[in-house]
């Protein structure tokens, strides 16, 4: 995929530590040509690149795309140590990793190749050998679905479709060569990569890649880099809204990965300029996005029009409150530049159960002026951009001594997105005194931060449906009363 304009000398890629103009990318790529050449690595060897938001990682990523390698892009799991080589799927012949440089390198060649840091490569001990099929490997990007608590799946995107996805985003968001784009979201996810970073590179914009973004780091980078476009999560929009003291108009802010609260949307728009929502998935890439030309009301209510080549349909379901839910159903999507399909760890394609149509598992409406996304269908919520399955939280809390059963429901909003309530039933014969604050404290050891319930409520019994299952709807209806009641006793 050729898309870098190597002649631009004023536009840069930066990560705060290292800044490189587009015109200095060529020598880095030539070094990489020698590096792969020396090791007889060619396009038939599938690779795995461990990625963070840094210029060195971004350069290797761009190289692999421009030289049409097939590779998996992944991030280091939070609990693995620096020394351990991360485990990569058997279809990947080599793993690539980049040590961040402690100080700025003196020459371009030192960015990736320095005596004691830079690009590291290792042969995968689980490698299964070259693809036996005579078919030539189509350049492919592999990603894992986020599945923050569920099982992540491997997804294959052809470079060709990825490119079209990137073009869609650059066009819809009206990105320009003079833009300065702040990317505090990870570029190893398809939102940061395919909607932010690569479209920015394609139009030749300057780009600031930020790692471990928080308010303080973001404001520091903002002062130094002076961005006019930013790619954010809704939670980070709220962080900026609460933390930033003075208004600062951006040309455009894009938010994706979660729902933006209505009050946040208007306030953000007032203080930081045009905000648009983008809707997509690891499988489909960008499905829809708002346009800066849409009115505030449309940008707030919808995630914009579907991208060119995208068809949407609704699978309507019956709800008790039919009038309220009219025209609402599960969204299905057919994308002419979506993914090739899921694959297994050996790289073999897995058959799709639903053909060309992709089930988003989101509730929504298809309107004339854009797509409206209401929320996840199943028992899960999106918190801080991460999907939380109620069942995972329930299982974790049930592992605490003295707890018999746990049911998680969601209602209203907390600082981290949808508010989570965990109803806990103590075991009948327990000798342990079950105290809500202790349970919550335990949760910090058992669950990732975003999956810890906001409220723990101890109950003796739970309302049941005639079939014996817990009546979650009834529980959801009574959470407010229970929380107030519990806090007062």
């Amino acid at each position: 995929m050729k898309f870098i304009n190597h002649s631009l000398s004023t536009q840069v890629l930066t990560d705060g530590q290292l800044t490189l103009s587009y015109s200095k990318i060529t020598p880095v790529f030539e070094e990489l040509d020698r590096f792969f050449g020396d090791r007889n690595i060619d396009r038939g060897d599938r690779l795995a690149l461990e990625c963070v938001n840094s210029v060195p990682c971004a350069l290797v990523l761009l190289y692999l795309l421009e030289r049409e390698y097939s590779f998996l892009l992944f991030s280091r799991a939070a609990n693995t140590s620096e020394e351990n080589k991360p485990e990569i799927p058997p279809f990947c012949h080599y793993g690539l990793q980049i040590d961040s440089s402690p100080e700025a390198p003196e020459t371009e060649s030192e960015i990736l190749f320095h005596r004691d840091r830079g690009l590291k490569i290792w042969e995968n001990s689980l490698w299964m050998g070259k693809n036996s099929s005579s078919e030539e490997l189509k350049p492919t990007l592999y990603l894992r679905t986020s599945g923050s608590t569920g099982n992540p799946k491997l997804v294959a995107h052809s470079h060709a479709n990825l490119r079209n996805n990137i073009l869609n985003c650059a066009e819809r968001l009206n990105l320009r060569s003079g833009d300065r784009i702040a990317i505090p979201v990870p570029i190893f996810h398809l939102y940061g990569l395919g909607a932010g970073f690569l479209p920015g590179v394609m139009v030749g914009a300057s780009i600031d890649l930020q790692k471990g973004a928080n308010l303080l780091r973001y404001l520091q980078r903002e002062r130094e880099f002076n961005p006019n476009v930013a790619f954010m999560t809704p939670i980070f929009c709220e962080t900026l809204l609460r933390g930033r003291r003075s208004p600062r108009p951006y040309k455009l802010t894009v938010a994706a990965g979660d729902r933006v609260r209505e009050d946040t949307f208007k306030q953000y728009n007032d203080r930081f300029g045009c905000l648009v929502k983008l809707y997509g998935s690891t499988e489909m890439g960008a499905i829809a996005a708002g346009s800066p030309d849409d009115t505030l009301e449309v940008r707030d209510r919808t995630v914009g029009q579907p991208m060119p080549g995208v068809q949407m349909r609704l699978e309507e379901q019956s709800f008790e409150n039919i009038e309220e839910m009219e025209g609402t159903g599960e969204l299905w999507c057919k994308h002419n530049c979506g993914f090739e399909g899921y694959i297994d760890e050996k790289g073999n394609p897995l058959l799709s159960e639903t053909g060309d149509w992709f089930r988003t598992k989101d509730f929504g409406r298809i309107g004339k002026d854009g797509l409206e996304v209401i929320g996840r269908c199943d028992h899960s919520v999106n918190r801080n951009g991460l999907l939380v399955f109620f069942t995972d939280v329930e299982k974790a809390i049930e592992s605490i001594a003295g707890i018999e059963k746990v049911v998680v429901v969601s209602k209203g909003e907390s600082q981290r997105g949808k508010k989570l309530f965990a109803y806990c039933i103590p075991a009948k014969d327990t000798k342990v005194e079950v105290i809500a604050t202790d349970i919550r404290s335990h949760c910090f050891d058992l669950l990732p931060r975003h999956a810890i319930p906001d409220e723990i409520i101890i109950e003796k019994t739970l309302p049941l449906l005639p079939n014996g299952k817990v009546d979650r709807q009834k529980l959801t209806q009574k959470v407010d009363w229970d929380t107030i009641h519990q806090n007062n006793t």
């Binding site: 928080n214 303080l216 520091q220 609460r242 930033r244 003291r245 600082q415 981290r416 910090f444």
Partner: protein, 104 residues
Amino acid sequence: MDKTATDKTAMDKTAVEQLKVIIADELDVNLTKEEIDDNAPLFEGGLGLDSIVIVELISLIEEKFGIEFADTELSPEYFSNLHVLAEFVSEKLASRAKVAESVR
């Protein structure tokens, strides 16, 4: 040590203690006052305050100490550990007192 230097150290020390109370009692972090190390970084690899908690901490500091951060003061260097933060807070308090005096 002259008197102003001693005062300053004492002031910083009180501010460190007050900050610890804020973190332990008012932030959603599951840390006790005793578990908080003055010299540990506030973010990853230290106290582990995440992006959401930091915003909370800033508004609590403003509320409890009656000071206001400017955008330019919201910088990682002032939040590198509790000592540095306490020193910064004390300075803000001192300069506020000075302003109040000159107005009088």
